[in-house]
Symmetry: C2
Subunit: 232 residues, 2 copies
DNA sequence: CAAGCTTTTTGCGCCTGCTCAAACACTTTC
DNA sequence: GAAAGTGTTTGAGCAGGCGCAAAAAGCTTG
């Protein structure tokens, strides 16, 4: 059995202020797994055999409808807990998690969840906060998709992406993982054609710079105004 | 200080299998409050002073956008915990909860949450399941609103309403609290005009029967087919 | 029971954004 | 470095559903 060093997780909010012995105890059941770009960590409807903490990389969580349409539920970044299906009372995963960059995750068997929160109740409490935050995100998206026009929704999605994974460059803020127009369409409830048109228009204004699976925001304030401002 | 009988909550899933002493302990800090139809239990952005369990009645939870547009987040029914803002790490309520029928709720001060889950960890675990369920609902709605046409979304919303609060009558299933066309529009991300047109069309087919703040589903299977079926 | 208010219906015109098609650009593979 | 694969752009046409307006239908209040 491979040993996992507690320093890998000691800094994460989920495990903050936990004694070293507790961290070692928690890590005892964990495996560390590599997911090369494109590989799925788990599939929608698959039995929820594990839950995870992402150590490195980036995942895209999607759901497909009965007729094959897809939406992007969220992107998962380092330090986040994910795949907590059994914690919210599900037997299977409600979505598919796919690595969009080479990723490393810790995995615990689903059966470890109950004993773990029994011994360390703050884990339940912190997971509740995480899930609560996701619920609010989902409600924000519902509010936006219900009431706002596509361009504004795309602006908001782009801002979120830069906050989640923005890397500052001399040119502006770059979304630091591969994102397709299709991804943005599935985040905002529109089509890849419409996203492409909107980004092209912004690019011709010099506000962003596109590229294959690449978006650089040259003028974040401008995008912010599109997202939040009045019609001016 | 008024005493609240533990029999009021002993049957609720949230408190299932808890000893009588624990229930009494939990109830010690609770107040029971009446909300006549139309009164708000709490307002969006208000400081989250309390969390609640609904004993009787029905609430509508809404959010308004900066420019005054509104969406319906959910309806709350008897037995449900709600207003758990502080449990998910918020200082204020993210939405407004309004009684749509005369309602009675138990209220605990927000400050009681941490001690309560420290003493009864299963409360955190069960709240996590509740919030997780809401997250899945929100994702379902996002999926639907992103990928489906309005008529199908209205069909789904109507089915949900009948499952949440349907009363069987000889004529069909009646949604057992006042729902306006506007409510359904705000649930499905459309306008009250479109909802009215759709319900009128269904009514002329004999599948539903409308009325002021009233919807009777005469042919639930038909509505189910609209929601789930292929295009036939 | 008349007046006033809220909710619902319906008509009409229009626009946002979708669909489909085709070309183009960039990467990866052999 | 050609070929194949994947992602992006752009045009043209069209329609689902929105916005507005006005009337009708139900409550409810004095």
């Amino acid at each position: 059995m491979s040993h996992i060093d507690r320093s890998l997780i000691a800094e994460l909010p989920l495990f903050a202020d936990m004694p070293a012995a507790a961290l070692d105890d928690i890590l005892h059941e964990a495996r560390s797994l590599r997911y090369p770009k494109g590989k799925a960590v788990f599939q929608q409807n698959e039995e929820a055999h594990s839950f995870f903490v992402l150590l490195h990389g980036r995942l895209r969580v999607t759901q497909v409808t009965a007729d094959g349409q897809q939406i992007v539920v969220r992107f998962v970044g380092p330090g986040e807990i994910f795949g907590v299906a059994q914690a919210i009372g599900r037997k299977d995963y409600p979505g598919t998690a796919t690595a969009v960059t080479d990723s490393i995750a810790l995995a615990w068997p689903a059966s470890a969840w109950q004993p773990m929160i029994a011994r360390y109740p703050q884990l339940a409490s912190r997971t509740l906060q995480t899930v609560g935050g996701r619920l609010q995100d989902a409600h924000s998206r519902l509010r936006e998709i219900s009431t706002e026009q596509v361009e504004r929704r795309v602006a908001r999605a782009l801002l979120r992406l830069t906050h989640q994974a923005g890397r500052k460059t001399p040119e502006g803020v770059l979304v630091d993982f591969p994102v397709t127009r299709q991804d943005i369409a599935e985040l905002t409830g529109t089509t890849l054609y419409t996203v492409s048109r909107i980004l092209s228009a912004w690019e011709s204004n010099g506000w962003v710079e596109g590229g294959r699976q690449r978006i650089l925001v040259r003028d974040p304030h401008r995008i912010f105004l599109l997202a939040e401002g009045d019609g001016t």
